[in-house]
């Protein structure tokens, strides 16, 4: 059996070896070509789709793929060698795992985000603040504590001194929004940018500064990148004037 597997493995190796030379060849006037894979926290969906379009406008030779998931999932993917060039998480703690393992360059904070309470359009249950989330008749969804938004939300509730018994612990912000949009939950704690991107489907109830927790978004080039120039250009574009303006327009706070 082992011999058989070894033979099958060797059979597979040969064709792929001939392919490895194909990639890096041709460099035109624009040095930025080839593929760029960007991993980003789910709450960055709109922002990074925008950043992708903006960078493609100046560097049409690039093929940029955005992949969105919870920050923890993304970090696990990079730890296990997923082919990624850039990673952006929704908190510094998860990013720190990659820094500690030497898997990314020094991260740079490119945006911050405030928390907001998300409710059904028009706020039919009259939620006026975090304290209301402790009401027994209110169905509340909170992110799982393994996700940054879940940790921030719990910190905010702690500051307010409110205990909440959530009906579900979704693993990304979009699932939480969906629960409120579809009326299966009455309220949740998400980022300001999520409420604005959901448009008329939900309403937001602001959380005052004294209780709010500000999320910090770091971005870093993955050390194992095969397209370092393009990866660096993506990161730089997030931090330059136009990139920052675009983020602020979506509801983010400048770093």
């Amino acid at each position: 059996m082992l011999v058989l597997l070894a033979t099958a493995g060797a059979g597979c190796d040969n064709p792929s070896a001939t392919h490895t030379n194909g990639g890096g060849g041709d460099r035109a006037a624009d040095p930025l070509t080839g593929k760029l894979t960007v991993l980003a926290a789910a709450s960055l969906t709109d922002a990074f789709e925008h950043a992708r379009t903006a960078l493609l406008a100046t560097h049409p030779g690039l093929a940029i793929t955005n992949s969105f998931a919870g920050s923890q999932t993304l970090v696990t993917q990079v730890e296990n060698g997923a082919p990624a060039d850039v990673i952006a998480t929704a908190d510094t703690a998860t990013m720190q795992r990659l820094v500690a393992d030497g898997l990314v360059d020094v991260p740079r904070v490119f945006a911050r985000n405030r928390l907001e309470i998300v409710v059904a359009p028009g706020n039919p249950k009259h939620v006026s603040g975090l304290a209301d989330l402790g009401r027994g008749n209110l169905k509340v969804v909170l992110e799982d504590p393994s996700v940054p938004a879940g940790r921030y939300g719990r910190q905010a509730l702690q500051r307010r001194g409110t205990t909440v018994r959530p009906v579900s612990l979704p693993l990304d912000v979009r699932s939480e929004l969906l629960a409120v949009e579809q009326g299966n939950a009455d309220a949740g704690i998400v980022y300001v940018t999520d409420v604005s991107s959901a448009g008329a489907a939900v309403s937001g109830v602001p959380i005052p500064d004294s209780e709010n927790v500000i999320a910090t978004y770091p971005v870093a080039v993955v050390r194992a990148t095969t397209n370092r120039d393009a990866a660096q250009a993506f990161v730089d574009a997030l931090l330059d004037g136009a990139g920052r303006q675009a983020l602020v327009a979506l509801g983010f706070v400048a770093p």
Binding site: M1, L5, G11, Q72, V167, S168, L169, P170, Q182, N184
Partner: protein, 261 residues
Amino acid sequence: MTNRRPPLYLLIPAGAALALVLVPIAGLLQHVPWHTLLTQVTSDQVLTALRLSLVCSVLAVVVALVLGVPLAWMLARTTFPGKAMVRAVVTLPLVLPPVVGGVALLFAFGAHGFAGEALAHLGVTLPFTTAGAVLAETFVAMPFLVIAVEAGIRQADVRYEEAAATLGAGAWMRFWRVTVPLIAPSLAAGAALTWARALGEFGATITFAGNLPGTTQTMPLAVYVALESNTDGAIALSLVLLVVSLGILLGLRHRWLGVRV
């Protein structure tokens, strides 16, 4: 009949096919935290998920039996217009991505769904409840039961039922005293496969029923959540699911696979 040595051009892809399944399992086993396995598997979080998984999957099998066996009988023994269509629809969850099933359940049984609104009048809410998790598991797993039982009923000799009828047995008695004993093997195989599928259900459950320990966080959801924070716990949980699934398949190897080793 025993074959001579199989030719290499079959042996190599066949070995690769086997490796395709074995290699990931080997990868999992390689990382099992053997020294802390017992503590991981008996932690509160795991036991809660395990208990909930057992309750939900057994209830899903019960619902699938109560609803699926009559349906299988209809498909096997009666003719009605659109039967091929009905069979296709009933087996749809087999090929449908479970997440799609979960979204569909959400839009039907959610607070804004037509079925959800009707149920709300009766005071029944399904999303984010254990009943919702059972519904999601039943939706995904019931086709296994219907297919197995329909095949069993087709193979059962209809003359036994006819003989019972001439002896004066009513439809209910014929079904319970003649048909059910005849199809007992396929009933058991269908129920076991349904149970295994329900036990492993993830996509429809997390999408429709949500994720709350003790209420809707079944074993596969606990594996996924643990992967975010406690990799060893995730692997330990995976091992439990792997052992259970393998046990079911080994127990069924004669019945379902129809192969005698």
